[in-house]
């Protein structure tokens, strides 16, 4: 009888001790605010820097002369598992050589289908596309997620096809 009472009291005290142990951990963090690692996201927008390799969206690189490096070979279109890249190219007459040459008309990118798997970037033979670091893609209309990546009036940079 007495043994069982002692056992019961021991259990109660042991239970209380375990609860206090847990409380000590949380108490430590209340008294040490420096240990908090939370980032205040919309407020820290100016200082927030994503890592170089961060995959947010596909971008077509343009230089200062509004020239890109895409030859329209559609390697990225073939490599894409979800059909998020569509390349519409046309044959343009080159006035210097008098020959018809393939040029991209529209580089269409469906962000809504993209899974950021990086396979298109790897397949590109001319390093024309890259993964951008922007991650704020929320829009009110789904059609806004489809964009044409080549800028109006942009041309193929010379020397890419050689």
């Amino acid at each position: 009888m007495i043994k069982s009472i002692i056992k019961y009291i021991k259990e109660v005290l042991g239970g209380l001790k375990s609860l206090l142990k847990g409380m000590r951990v949380t108490g430590y963090y209340i008294s040490h605010p420096k240990e908090i690692i939370t980032q205040q996201y919309p407020e820290n927008k100016d200082t927030l820097k994503m890592f170089d390799r961060f995959r947010g969206e596909v971008i077509l690189l343009h230089d200062e002369n509004n020239e890109h490096r895409c030859t329209g070979c559609t390697a990225c279109e073939v490599a894409c598992p979800n059909g998020s890249i569509e390349i519409i190219s046309e044959r343009v007459l080159n006035p210097e050589t008098g020959k018809k040459k393939k040029e991209i008309d529209k580089f269409i990118y469906h962000l809504s289908m993209c899974t950021m798997c990086n396979l298109c970037i790897e397949s590109c033979p001319t390093d024309a596309i890259k993964m951008g670091r922007n991650f704020e893609h929320a829009v009110f209309d789904r059609s806004l997620l489809t964009s044409v990546l080549n800028r109006p009036g942009s041309k193929l940079a010379p020397g890419v096809e050689d």
Binding site: G14, G15, S18, L19, K21, G22, R24, V25, T26, I37, F51, R53, F54, R55, A79, P81, T115, M116, C117, N118, L119, E122, S123, M131
Partner: protein
């Protein structure tokens, strides 16, 4: 009401739907419970709410594309899933990857295991009514996710392994960051014990609950920490070593109780072992190429290829039947969660509904893995 009618109502079992939107089912899993009062008589899982036909999609994709789909199955152990596909494809094209790739893959797998167990620990506490553990688990997981973000470019669906190696070589400060994390987490893991493992309420809710015997674990094919908590020695890393697991020294965690608390302890101990594995490898990553060149379109020879790996939840297998074309004829995934879910009825029979929540969280289900 007459006593006859009352007796008839008393004898009738009644049914309750747990899910598909129940917060403690970790996803869209619907459990049809037949109850006698509060005692569970039968649990019947209903699947199909997030079926995406991944296996069928693989039949039209090339082998390089398949890898990124496995991220979306067990998203908490995506590195191991990717690795399984890559190893199976490498078996097919008879490609031997460099030692550097093997070591990087092993480190990444163990980091994924750690992050998966941290998330499980947090969610486990929350299922049992303690919100503190959720915040603590996510705090420590954030450090691993940051390492992944810097190395692979993504936080959850990494798609880091490719047939022939890894997508990018590790960044310069990878070793420094991982070492910092290990030092940090060695200090923080004892906190987990203080918060949950030794907590009297937590112990009362998990000890002796949901017992799975060793025989049942083997016959249902329950693998991973859940199986090892029942005494079923099933660690693929030990028994069929792949990547760099043959050159590291670690213990296989085995418990004999088979109850919820044993499954809990098995995962906590696995975290220590994972850190031990990373410590052995991080200082001597061999030099070499991080990626062997493969053909642009990989074609496997005719035949069947199987590779199994140990994910955070158990044995994950990839079975490829190839007919020599650029995409597989048939591809089958053996996911650990599906087998574990089948054993749920055996574990939960005769216990209370509240115990079912504890059992569900200790077997660590990821529904997209079960329902692919």
């Amino acid at each position: 009401m007459s006593t006859e009618v009352v007796n008839e109502i008393k004898e009738q079992e009644y049914f309750i739907n747990m899910g598909p939107q129940h917060p403690s089912t970790h996803g869209v899993l619907r459990l049809l419970l037949s109850l006698d009062g509060e005692i569970i008589k039968n649990v019947e899982p209903h699947l199909g709410y997030i079926h995406r036909s991944i296996e069928k999609m693989c039949e039209k994709d090339t082998y390089k594309m398949i890898v990124h789909l496995t991220d979306r199955m067990d998203y908490l152990s995506c590195h191991m899933n990717n690795e399984a596909v890559c190893l199976a494809v490498e078996k097919g094209i008879e490609l031997e990857v460099s030692d550097r790739v093997k070591v990087i893959r092993t480190i990444m797998s163990e980091l994924t295991r750690l992050s998966s167990h941290q998330l499980w620990w947090g969610v486990m506490g929350m299922d049992l009514g303690a919100i503190t553990s959720f915040l603590y688990g996510f705090r420590d997981r954030e450090m691993i996710i940051d390492i992944f973000e810097e190395t692979c470019g993504a936080r959850l669906t990494m798609n880091y392994n490719v047939p022939g190696g890894v997508m990018f070589d590790i960044p310069n400060n990878f070793q420094k960051r991982v070492k910092e994390f290990i030092i940090y987490f060695k200090k923080k893991l004892p906190e987990y014990d203080d918060l949950l493992s030794n907590n009297v309420i937590f112990k009362a809710r998990t000890e002796g609950v949901g017992i799975l015997s060793k025989e049942d674990a083997i016959s249902y094919g329950v693998t991973g920490p859940s199986g090892r908590a029942s005494g079923f020695s099933c660690d693929i890393r030990k028994q069929h070593p792949y990547s760099a697991y043959d050159r590291v020294d670690f213990k296989e965690i085995l418990y004999s109780e088979g109850d919820c608390f044993a499954r809990y302890k098995a995962r906590i101990d696995e975290m220590w072992e994972s850190m031990f594995i990373i410590e052995q490898l991080i200082d001597n990553i061999p030099e070499g190429s991080a990626r062997e060149t493969t053909r642009a379109v990989i074609k496997l020879p005719k035949g069947e290829f199987y590779q199994k790996v140990e994910t955070a939840r158990g044995e994950f297998g990839v079975y490829i039947i190839s007919d020599g074309k650029k995409s597989p004829y048939r591809l089958k995934f053996r996911s650990p969660g599906f087998s574990t879910l089948n054993a749920l009825n055996t574990m939960a029979k005769g216990s209370k509904i509240a115990d079912l929540v504890a059992i569900m969280s200790t077997i660590d289900l990821v529904i997209p893995d079960i329902d692919r």
